[in-house]
């Protein structure tokens, strides 16, 4: 009855080239940096976790949709009123997708007594770099 259960399924250990970041920590760059920052970090982390193409595409698609939505809202209502809050809200929405698709894979990684990489430097870089880029985009679209 358990014939298939007792078949070998453990391949050689997947060696992750670079340690991943803790998915729950990406919420901070999502808040401060907005959707573009969290998308970049989310896709990079999916690659670090050696997740499949689908999970990478899910994060990228959510991020693209959020950036476009933010541009559309900024274009429609013009001006910077509430721009900061909108960036935060869309960023958090994308982070929700990142957390949902990466939580299990990260816990499996943790079970091997392995430590995550520090997000401090990359997070700060993404917040500043992507934040500036996104605001330039908004300025171009609105004007």
């Amino acid at each position: 009855m358990n014939d298939d259960l007792f078949q070998p399924t453990i391949g050689s250990r997947q060696v992750l080239a670079v340690p991943p970041w803790r998915p729950s920590s990406i919420v901070y760059p999502a808040f401060f940096g907005g959707p573009l920052a969290v998308t970049v970090l989310g896709v990079l982390n999916a690659r670090r976790l050696a997740l499949g193409r689908n999970q990478q595409l899910a994060v990228a698609a959510a991020g693209l949709a959020a950036v476009v939505a933010r541009l559309v809202v900024a274009g429609l209502f013009g001006g910077q009123a509430g721009a900061r809050t909108l960036g935060t809200l869309f960023g958090l929405a994308v982070w929700g997708v990142v957390a949902a698709t990466q939580k299990k894979a990260f816990r499996a990684y943790e079970y091997g007594d392995r430590e995550p990489a520090s997000l401090f430097g990359p997070g700060l870089a993404a917040v500043i770099g992507c934040g500036i880029l996104e605001n330039i985009l908004i300025a171009v679209v609105v004007d």
Partner: protein
């Protein structure tokens, strides 16, 4: 267990192992005469002691020697599988575990170690079926409880993991691992006080285990006064805390209380920066002091 001329020494080693005194068990086994030191049961006890001491390489060698001396045996294969697993040689570990399961398909230890290995490879469904099989044999075995907690945690169900840990503690109040798991699963749900009390109880039950001591110290960091402002994030989760903050800030704005809304917004922003910067620094500082 076969009858043995040196049974008293073996019984003593066995009792020492059960009392969590593996080093003394090893000393007891080391003084056996050479003719008796090569039987499978001696190697099994030696491997068990070495596994408790986390000396994986030697434990694997002892289990292998036992297999060479007495032929295939599910207990020795389980020890070998566990040692190889902890050494990171997962394919060899799986082979040993499956060889053991071929002889004893309902062995609870083999099923649980194999399930744990599957968890680490993200094979949750297979792990669940293995644990279910083990639970059908011995639902109250500590290893079954522990593996069920790990399965729930790996599936992302922290509430279920905590519930099973509570059952584990209720069934085995003397078991240090049960308290450690309850502490760990409480920490995952942001319940800092029960996290600390669970881990402290684990240290009380097994003072020699450094992992429990470190986890208890980390849980104490969460109780530090400087961690007070970020407790809502841990307790309710980032998303719920966020929704509450947005409701408050926009609620004040909707009521026309613009200055208050601005103050709340700035305070919230400051709290977010704080929650990003302070906990890692505090943790690093306190852990350095601990070491």
């Amino acid at each position: 267990m076969t009858e043995h001329a040196y049974a008293p020494a073996l019984m003593r080693a066995h009792a020492l192992l059960a009392a969590d005194r593996p080093e003394e068990a090893l000393r007891e086994l080391a003084v056996l005469p050479e003719s008796d030191a090569v039987s499978a049961i001696v190697f099994e006890l030696r491997a068990a002691a070495l596994l408790q001491l986390e000396r994986w390489t030697e434990a694997g060698d002892a289990a292998r020697a036992g297999l060479a001396a007495g032929g295939p045996d599910p207990d020795l294969l389980c020890q070998l599988g566990f040692a190889e697993y902890r050494l990171g040689r997962h394919e060899t570990a799986e082979r040993a575990l499956l060889d053991g399961l071929a002889i004893a398909p309902e062995d609870v230890s083999l099923l649980c170690v194999y399930a744990r290995l599957c968890l680490e490879h993200g094979q949750l469904d297979k792990a669940r079926r293995l644990v279910d099989l083990a639970a059908a044999q011995q639902p109250d075995a500590p290893t079954v409880y522990a593996t069920r907690v790990q399965l729930a945690h790996a599936s992302g169900d922290d509430a279920l993991a905590q519930r099973i840990s509570r059952e584990f503690v209720a069934a085995h109040p003397e078991n240090a691992q049960a308290h450690a798991l309850l502490g760990g699963t409480s920490a995952a749900r942001g319940q800092v006080r029960s996290a600390y009390s669970g881990l402290r109880q684990a240290v009380a039950n097994d003072p020699a285990d450094r992992d429990y001591a470190k986890a208890a110290y980390e849980a104490r960091i969460a109780l530090h006064p400087l961690m007070l402002p970020v407790r809502p994030f841990a307790r309710f989760g980032a998303v719920k805390t966020w929704i509450a903050a947005i409701v408050v800030i926009y609620g004040l704005r909707a009521l026309g209380l613009y200055p208050l809304a601005t103050v709340a917004g700035l305070a919230w922003f400051a709290l977010c920066v704080y929650s990003w910067v302070v906990p890692p620094l505090l943790r690093r500082w306190l852990l350095r002091r601990w070491r």
